[in-house]
């Protein structure tokens, strides 16, 4: 600091031995900085001076808000809850299951009707609610080096993964609570042709994870064969298959399975959705999902009753601002209006009260 030079001098209090010829004037320098006269902008906040700001903000925000709102409204979104808490629900039987590893696969199919055709790419999500993926101990319970293909971590998972690090003295791959609780329902979508046949809609399993996750963060352990690479490890307790059997495609298997990667990106809020599949648009002429009847086939594995959770399947198109969310538009509109309103209030204040002293002080 600039000031320490004499600060220290004060402290040591030595007998200063000043040599000859040190009769230098101690006069401070006359610089704008040292004399605290730096040129400065001095805004004074009064009703009159801030008025323009309020009006301008109002005038800018309201159109932006309207634009956002319209954009959000143009996004088509469809949601099916297939938790099956209701007795009438097709999935009710499956939902009674508390077990993670029930051997008998439970399937149910839910029919639904899309009122509007979906023109562009459609994103298929699964949604969970009341699932606290952001729980502190849960979030921590992973080993990133293991997921990055580190061989040491593969066999000796970090203790963050405890108590999901080892099972029967074998290291778990992937370890940790997040991986252990991976969503394992299988969703399939069928379009009921007007003539009654069910056409399975092709769902793309790739491109749903972040590029950096798939290519940088997550890597399979080195080895020609995944099965060999994962030798000596065991699958997470709740899993039915080991990690190297997640997908047939070797580019989407093991740690770089995109469903796994998506799951590993822990959600911020207890009600969340995760991208499951993408329905790519094939033809410009035909809508990706035409209007009509659909059936959702669910292999119901994931128990949510223990935490009163809900499971949903969401179909959504996407705009430049993401999924459907009218909130931001409304927020912009309301903040803009409030600003405008406050601007008017300030104008009133200025003309009723501010006038007297302002004019007296300043007009002189």
């Amino acid at each position: 600091m600039m000031a320490t030079s004499y600060n220290a001098k004060d402290e040591d209090g030595h007998i200063t031995v000043s040599g000859p010829g040190t009769m230098r004037s101690k006069k401070p320098e006359n610089t704008a900085f040292k004399q605290q006269r730096l040129p400065a902008w001095q805004p004074i906040l009064t009703a009159w001076t801030v008025l323009p700001a309020f009006f301008i903000i109002g005038l800018i925000f309201i159109p932006i808000g309207i634009g956002l709102f319209v954009t959000s409204n143009n996004i088509k979104e469809f949601e099916v809850d297939y938790t099956g808490v209701d007795v009438s629900s097709p999935c009710f039987n499956c939902s009674q299951n508390y077990m993670w590893n029930s051997s008998r696969p439970c399937t149910c199919s839910i029919p639904f009707y899309l009122e509007q055709p979906y023109q562009s790419d459609v994103f298929m999500y699964y949604g969970l609610s009341n699932f606290y993926q952001n729980h502190r101990r849960y979030v921590k319970s992973r080993d990133d080096s293991q997921l990055n293909g580190d061989l040491v971590s593969l066999t000796k998972p970090s203790k963050e993964c405890e108590p999901y690090a080892t099972n029967e003295n074998k290291p778990i791959a992937p370890c940790g609570a997040i991986a252990n609780s991976m969503f394992n329902d299988t969703l399939e979508l069928f379009y009921s042709d007007p003539n009654g046949t069910l056409i399975q809609i092709p769902l793309s399993t790739t491109g749903i994870a972040w590029w950096t996750d798939k290519h940088v963060k997550f890597r399979n352990p080195a080895g020609s064969n995944l099965t060999v690479a994962f030798q000596g490890t065991t699958k997470p307790v709740n899993w039915r298959r080991p990690v190297y059997e997640l997908d047939a495609d070797p580019e989407n298997n093991g740690f770089i399975n995109e469903d796994f990667i998506v799951w590993m990106r822990t959600a911020a809020l207890p009600t969340f959705r995760k991208l499951y599949r993408i329905i790519n648009k094939n033809n410009n002429m035909i809508p990706t999902l035409p209007q009509g009847n659909y059936t959702l086939e669910v292999v119901y594995n994931y128990p949510v009753r223990s935490f009163e959770g809900r499971k949903r399947m969401i179909l959504s198109t996407i705009s430049w601002m993401g999924g459907k969310n009218p909130f931001l538009g409304l927020a912009y509109i309301s903040v803009g209006s409030v600003c405008f309103f406050l601007g008017v209030v300030l104008l009133l204040i200025h003309y009723r009260c501010g006038n007297q002293n302002n004019s007296q002080d300043i007009s002189n």
Binding site: T4, N7, A8, E11, G13, H14, I15, V17, M23, K27, N30, T31, A32, K34, R37, L38, P39, A40, W41, Q42, L45, T46, A47, W48, T49, V50, I64, F131, Y132, Q133, N134, V139, K140, D144, L147, S158, P163, A177, N180, T212, D213, A267, A268, L269, F272, S306, M321, G323, N325, L328, A331, C339, L346, I349, H350, C353, G354, Q356, D361, N364
Partner: protein, 1499 residues
């Protein structure tokens, strides 16, 4: 005071000393020093001096090894550091850990290491300067070499003989054994110790006095016994034991202190007594002072609240988590992770763990960086204060020193100023004004005219400079060009000043000449009448001398005159020096026996070569030798031998033999030279060029005055004073004793043998009170006695007159001792001198015995001129709401008059004078005054809080409102509130003398005294001792709970300076003790104005705002995480990455607020000085009131809600992941915080912009780097590529625009409304700043500023700021009663009260009272609607229509307003009869011509 037993050498003590202390338990009272050379051969073990500290100094705190542990230990003394380390360590416990443990340590380590590096650097600097000092050279006697060899300072040991050469610095405390000086003296300059620039004489030990040849260390065999090392610079006691067993006493006059510089002495030899850290200089060196400021105390309270909030939040979360866990029961949701051991955690256990985790997560709420930031900001503030050109005094080339680094903001919160008078308000430059000799007054009109001329020159100068100075500063946003203008105007200003007195003074100081040599002080124009008398007298004496007539035939008046001047000349300790070599004393001994034959001879002798050329050692030593030898040979009988014993024996001889013949004594030094020749060359040589250096300025003033009458002091030796008198030529007075001045005796005396009469004469000079009591009661029998009586009474009259003029008075008296009396006294005195225990007391008693039965010669009046700008400063400080008390040791009359002169007391206001002789009387007086105040200001006490602004307005327009607003809570909480009048300040002055003060400060009376004193506008304590000063300050500070500032310049102010919250020392002429004790040292009193009003205000408002902002910032940031707990099962999860969480405070948001905290100026310096009222802002802690903390907290919670929930809803039910959602929130919080700071920033310089840009870019840079650096690290957040993706997301930008705006909308709106509806005074000041300079000046000068007009009642909750232009309220119109309480008019008072309807008319008439309304209008001018002219007319008009005023009174009263003279002032004296039993108190007007107005009030 027993220093020998309880020595506390302080931090400088080395381990060695401690060990030594243990070992030397057997001789714990003294130290014995042997000469080292005797033991050179012996092994170290046997050297008796081995246990004493060596001369190597080490002021460093640390060594390389001990640095880390010791520094850490010291830092952990600060509670906050311990807390943060505790939290960081908590992170290492796996169950509760929230962050990566290493990362959590980062901030603490950062803070600790910043402090450690600072300490290390400072220590290194100390080490380097230690090394430099330790390696300086000095000459030490080596036994082997048998000569003095060069050694490093650090190798000097106790018991070494060292030889000192001229201009060398003393390496240790040395006992002077030999000096090349013919008088066996060594001169030292103690500037480095106490700042006093005059030379001090040190004497060679008497027993080594007679050595003719050089001192030979080999022959030294004595042992020295002296006190243990202590830090008392002014005391040294001990004795030297010679081989033959003889003991000689040692005095402080024999000791040369380390750090002093040898001057005027070619060589001196001494033995080292104390070395290194045991030297007095080092023991006196206690480091900087640390005080805790009021703001910091307040801040600590809020830090405490933060802790509570933190605990509440943690508890809430913990309970929430427990409940959350509980609701799942046994179902074990999959996301609820088991403990690492795989066991289940019970809800209660996890809640407990979570509590600790939350403390870690929320730790940011306790601002770790706050303490460091405050320190940095304060250092910068100190730097800027230091750099202020306006606080730089060109004349002395000194500027303000901040010695306490951490109480700058206290300067902005002062409420009481306690000031010393002499040297603080006044210049402490004594100018001889008038004198009275033998009852005849010599008015020195010509001298007065001359002084007036100086004054005119001064004031003219000031006008010019002030005109030139304000011109360029008008626009606050000064461009480069205007800066140049300032520079130019400044240079012209300095040029102007250099033209006159200032230049002379500066030149004299720069060239190290004596400080008392300005022509104003030196050139005294003699009074012609007195000059004639002096001439006549001396010619008569000359005549008589030639005719061998006894001197007693001289007319007594004339002899008094000549005695008076002789006393002026010799009764002092002035040293004569010649200007060419100011440090070379004139030391030619005027031999009485060898008359000068010719004038040429005289001149030749008088200007020896050594006077003009100090370098030529040869010639000087030869001349010295000659003079010395001639001494010895020539005048053994007459010149006193230096030792007192021989004086005594000589006396015996003289008594036996016939008294020394007059012939011999009068043998002329020189024949009276022919007048023309004398006046010509010779006089120009001596008189024009001799300089006097005195320890106190009044001594010099008197000597200069005497010189004006041709009685000049031409030489002073320890045993002889040479005076040159007209006609008589040079006379040498044998100086037998000097009884120095002390503050208890208040006088000094010299005992001389008068060369003309050969009588032993005592000349005494002292305070009139001290002398007058000692005057010999004249026996009225003979004419002489009658004359004496007349002289005494007349002199007393004149003394009173002088005092009334504000002059310092001194009485001069003499006494002639018969030989027997002298011998008798001498016997006792010698005993006293040689005593070791209680020597001071014995000497004191001895002096008392001598100074009795004096014969009064006359008295002098010396003016102590006010410093430049003192009245203006006091006025403006008072407008700033500061109560100013003056505590002085001066006598009442002088003090009162200076108080009038510096506008402390107003001629228009009444003065309560408290003089009591006993405790009961004092109690009675206080009771009476209280009663008086209550009755007189009944109105204000009857409606204390109902309408404070208006009731206050009636009396004390500009002072009262702030007090009323601020103190009601206090006065109600005070224990004495039952009878306490509301704390208002009336237009009253209180004068109390030291004796009464002593009674009043008694426990039983202090409450009452305070009640009286605090209702007075000005308090003046005269004749107060240093202890009383500090007691008063302590009392006010503790009882009234106010911030106190003490300012003083002398040693007597030190205790007061230390007691006050802020001590200010004036680095003036009275040494540096006050400065050493002070927190701030100023070159002049008037600088206090800018220091307080501008820098104090700035420092306070900057720091207050910064602290509040810190609290806000941390609360806002932490609350974000708190809200998140509701969405993560209260699990202690944070969406903000741990890195951001930890570095947010430390790095991302730190710089802008530091810049704002350092540079922000709410109001410009000019406006602050022109509107002192703005200072009340700080006094009342407007910027940081307790509720503001909570307001800020509320705002923080609101803002964090906005910053949390806008992203929450924007991302609700989306696939956003934890940190992709948390990062925007962090960014938003950062933006919000920065914009918030922007709203609170009053001035935007490029530094502000830069710092904000820097902050934002730093955040993004760090975030980008961090997020790109490692895909697998930073568990658990693992934010790889998060920011990069966010930056591609338009939603992120939309949020960044919307959220800060929505968050700050209320604050912005509030600030705008506040600015319009109820602007604070500061805002009005700021608005003034914006005006063009010309307009602003006009407004300020015309008093057109209406700060805060009466707002619409519905909209303004606050009372307007100083709305004095409202009509006087009815019923409260006692203003006209103010001075009429004791008068028969008091019935009108009741009328006014009983019929409120009469109010308005009364209030119109109220203007008629010249004592109240008119001045109040003037006082409040800057704030009222009227131009000064208008009100002036009003006050003139007003004198007429009051019917009740008698004609005489009317004319008198109108006259009073124009002539502020004490005798005419309408003051109320409350005097008790001295017996104290009378139940009657006299209120008497001091106006003498109206005795009939005095009123007796029965109790």
């Amino acid at each position: 005071m027993a220093r020998e037993t309880a020595e506390e050498p302080g931090s400088a003590e080395t381990a060695k000393v401690k060990r030594q202390r243990k070992e030397k338990t057997k001789e714990n009272k003294t130290r014995t020093v042997h000469a080292n050379i005797l033991y050179e051969k012996a092994k170290g073990e046997e050297n008796p001096n081995r246990l004493y500290a060596d001369n190597k100094i080490k002021t460093t705190k640390y060594t390389l090894l001990s640095f880390l542990p010791k520094n850490l230990f010291e830092q952990f003394h600060r509670f906050a550091n311990v807390y943060f380390v505790f939290i960081a360590l908590l992170n290492f416990v796996p169950v509760v850990k929230a962050f990566q443990p290493e990362l959590a340590l980062a901030p603490v380590v950062f803070i600790l290491s910043v402090t450690a590096i600072k300490d290390l650097w400072e220590d290194y600097r100390r080490h380097r300067s230690d090394k430099e000092i330790n390696h300086m050279d000095c000459l030490v006697y080596g036994r082997v070499e048998r000569r003095y060899v060069e050694q490093y300072w650090k190798d000097v040991r106790v018991g070494d003989f060292i030889r000192l050469r001229c201009n060398e610095i003393l390496p240790a405390d040395v006992l002077l054994l030999s000096s090349s000086d013919p008088d066996r003296l060594a001169h030292i300059e103690t500037a480095t110790l106490d700042g006093e620039t005059n030379l001090k004489q040190r004497q060679v030990l008497r027993c080594f006095y007679d050595l003719d040849c050089d001192f030979d260390p080999m022959k030294y065999r004595s042992t020295i016994e002296c006190e243990k090392p202590n830090n008392d610079l002014n005391r040294f006691r001990g004795y030297i034991i010679h081989r033959n067993g003889r003991r000689d006493a040692l005095y402080k006059e024999n000791l040369l202190l380390r750090g002093c510089t040898i001057r005027n002495t070619e060589e001196a030899v001494g033995i080292v007594i104390y070395a290194g850290h045991e030297t007095k200089a080092m023991l006196n060196n206690n480091g900087p002072r640390y005080k805790r400021s009021k703001l910091e105390r307040q801040m600590n309270v809020d830090v405490f609240w933060c802790v509570i909030i933190l605990l509440v939040m943690c508890l809430f979360t913990a309970v929430g988590h427990g409940l959350w866990m509980f609701q799942y029961g046994d179902k074990r949701p999959v996301f609820d992770v088991l403990s690492p051991e795989g066991t289940d955690l019970s809800p209660i256990m996890s809640a407990t763990y979570l509590f600790l985790t939350m403390i870690i997560v929320f730790q940011v709420l306790i601002p770790i960086s706050l303490f460091v930031s405050i320190e940095i900001v304060k250092i910068c503030q100190v730097y800027f204060i230091h750099q202020d050109m306006d606080l730089y005094d060109e004349e002395t080339d000194s500027h303000l020193q901040c010695r306490a680094l951490n109480i700058t903001e206290d300067l902005g919160q002062m409420q009481y100023i306690f000031s010393d008078k002499t040297g603080t308000l006044t210049e402490n430059k004594m100018v001889f004004r008038r004198c009275t000799v033998a009852g005849v007054e010599y008015s020195h009109d010509a001298n007065a005219k001359r002084l007036a001329m100086y004054q005119e020159v001064d004031s003219e100068e000031e006008e010019c400079t002030s005109h030139g100075g304000t011109l360029p500063r008008r626009d606050s946003v000064s461009s480069q060009q205007s800066a140049r203008v300032v520079l130019r105007s400044h240079s012209t200003k300095s040029h102007r000043r250099t033209g006159s007195r200032a230049e002379a003074k500066r030149a004299s100081i720069l060239s190290k000449h004596t400080a008392f040599s300005s022509p104003m002080e030196k050139d005294i124009t003699p009074d012609p009448q007195l000059l004639d008398k002096v001439n006549e007298c001396s010619s008569q004496m000359d005549f008589m001398r030639f005719h061998s007539q006894p001197m007693s035939t001289l007319p007594s008046e004339l002899s008094d005159v000549i005695d008076f001047f002789i006393a002026l000349t010799i009764c002092n300790t002035v040293v004569v020096s010649s200007p060419n070599q100011p440090r070379q004393k004139v030391r030619v001994r005027f031999e009485l026996k060898s008359p000068v034959k010719t004038i040429e001879d005289f001149i030749k002798r008088f200007t020896p070569s050594r006077l003009t050329s100090s370098g030529s050692n040869n010639s000087s030593s030869s001349s010295l030798i000659t003079s010395r030898s001639s001494n010895r040979g020539g005048c053994s009988s007459f010149l006193s031998s230096p030792s007192a014993d021989s004086t005594l024996t000589k006396l015996d001889e003289e008594q036996r033999g016939p008294p020394g013949s007059l012939e011999q004594a009068f043998s002329p030094v020189q024949p009276p030279p022919p007048p023309p020749c004398y006046d010509g060359k010779a006089s120009s040589l001596e008189e024009g060029e001799l300089r006097y250096e005195a320890e106190s300025p009044d001594e010099a003033a008197l000597v200069y005055a005497a010189r004006a009458y041709k009685c000049s002091l031409v030489g002073r030796l320890p045993d002889q004073v040479t005076v040159e008198l007209p006609h008589l030529g040079k006379l040498s007075f044998e100086l037998l004793h000097t009884l120095g001045f002390d503050s208890t005796r208040k006088r000094m005396s010299v005992v001389v043998r008068h060369p003309l009469t050969d009588q032993i004469t005592v000349y005494t000079k002292g305070a009139d009170s001290a002398i007058m009591d000692l005057i010999k009661p004249p026996d009225t029998g003979n004419s002489k006695g009658k004359r004496q009586k007349k002289i005494v009474s007349r002199t007393q009259n004149y003394l009173n007159l002088y005092a009334a003029d504000g002059l310092r008075t001194l009485c001069i008296a003499k006494k002639i001792l018969s030989k027997e009396q002298y011998a008798c006294w001498l016997q006792h005195h010698l005993q006293a001198e040689t005593a070791i225990q209680g020597r001071e007391e014995l000497l004191f008693e001895s002096a008392l015995r001598l100074e009795t039965n004096l014969q009064l010669l006359g008295a002098t009046g010396i003016e102590d001129r006010l410093q430049d700008g003192v009245p203006e400063t006091i006025e403006s400080l008072r407008k700033a709401g500061l109560q100013i008390w003056v505590l002085t040791g001066d006598k009442q009359e002088t003090a009162v008059n200076v108080a009038y002169a510096c506008k402390l007391l107003d001629p228009e206001e009444e003065i309560l004078t408290l003089n009591a002789d006993s405790q009961e009387a004092c109690a009675l007086l206080l009771e009476e005054s209280l009663h008086y105040i209550q009755v007189k200001f009944l109105c204000s006490s009857s409606s204390p809080s109902a309408d404070p602004a208006t009731s206050a307005q009636a009396f004390h327009t500009d002072y009262a409102p702030p007090f009323e607003l601020y103190h009601p809570s206090h006065s109600s909480s005070s224990s004495s509130s039952s009878y306490a009048p509301p704390f208002t300040v009336h237009r009253l002055g209180l004068v109390i003398d030291g004796r009464t003060l002593a009674y009043a400060l008694d426990k039983s009376l202090e409450e009452k005294f305070l009640l009286v004193a605090r209702s007075c506008r000005a308090v003046l304590c005269c004749r107060s001792t240093p202890l009383q000063k500090s007691m008063v300050v302590k009392l006010v500070r503790n009882k009234l709970k106010v911030m106190t500032l003490a300012i003083g310049d002398g040693a007597n102010d030190v205790s007061m300076i230390q007691v006050a919250d802020v001590g200010v020392g004036i680095s003036g002429q009275e040494g540096m003790q006050a400065v050493m004790a002070s927190d701030f040292a100023l070159p002049r009193f008037s600088y206090l104005q800018k220091l307080l009003l501008v820098h104090g205000h700035w420092c306070y408002s900057r720091l207050a705002n910064m602290i509040l902002f810190f609290f806000y910032k941390n609360a806002m940031f932490v609350a974000l995480i708190f809200w998140y707990q509701f969405y993560c099962g209260f699990s202690g999860s944070a969406m903000i990455d741990q890195w951001y969480l930890i570095f947010f405070n430390l790095m991302f948001s730190a710089f802008p607020q530091l810049i704002t905290g350092t540079l922000d100026k709410d109001v410009s310096a000019e406006t602050l000085q022109q509107l002192p009222q703005l200072y009340m802002n700080g006094q009342n802690s407007e910027e940081y009131k307790p509720y503001m903390f909570w307001m800020n907290m509320m705002d923080a919670f609101y803002q964090s809600l906005v910053c949390f929930f806008i992203p929450y809803f924007a991302y609700a039910d989306s696939d956003v992941d934890l940190f992709t959602w948390g990062t925007p929130i962090t960014t938003l919080a950062l933006f919000t915080i920065l914009v918030h700071l922007g709203i609170e920033t009053k001035t935007w310089t490029w530094m502000n912009w830069l710092s904000i840009t820097f902050s934002i870019s730093l955040f993004f840079t760090v975030a980008l780097c961090y997020n790109a650096s490692c895909p697998t690290c930073y568990s658990p957040s693992n934010p790889y590529w998060t920011v990069q993706r966010l930056l591609q997301d338009p939603l992120f930008y939309l949020l960044c625009v919307l959220t800060p705006l929505a968050a700050l909308l209320p604050r912005y709106f509030y600030r705008a409304c506040q600015g319009t509806l109820f602007p604070s005074p500061v805002q009005v000041g700021r608005r003034l700043d914006k005006l063009p300079a010309e307009t602003r000046r006009n407004i300020l000068s015309l008093g057109r500023v209406k700060v805060g007009s009466p707002p619409p009642p519905a909209l303004s909750p606050k009372t307007p700021f100083l709305s004095v232009n409202k009509p006087s309220p009815p019923g409260c119109n006692t203003s006209k009663e103010q001075r009429s309480f004791p008068s028969p008019r008091s019935h009108t008072h009741k009328q006014g009260q009983s019929s409120p309807a009469q109010g308005p008319t009364d209030s119109d008439k109220g203007l008629s009272d010249p004592y109240t309304s008119a001045p109040s209008d003037i006082d409040t001018l800057p704030y009222t609607k009227d131009a000064p002219k208008l009100s002036g007319e009003k006050s003139k008009d007003s004198a007429c229509p009051d019917q009740t005023l008698e004609a005489s009174e009317l004319s008198l009263s109108s006259w009073i307003t124009s002539t502020p003279l004490l005798t005419q002032t309408d003051s109320v004296q409350i005097n008790l009869p001295p017996d104290g039993h009378s139940a009657c108190v006299t209120y008497s007007r001091s106006t003498e011509d109206r005795p009939e107005r005095s009123l007796h009030t029965a109790l």
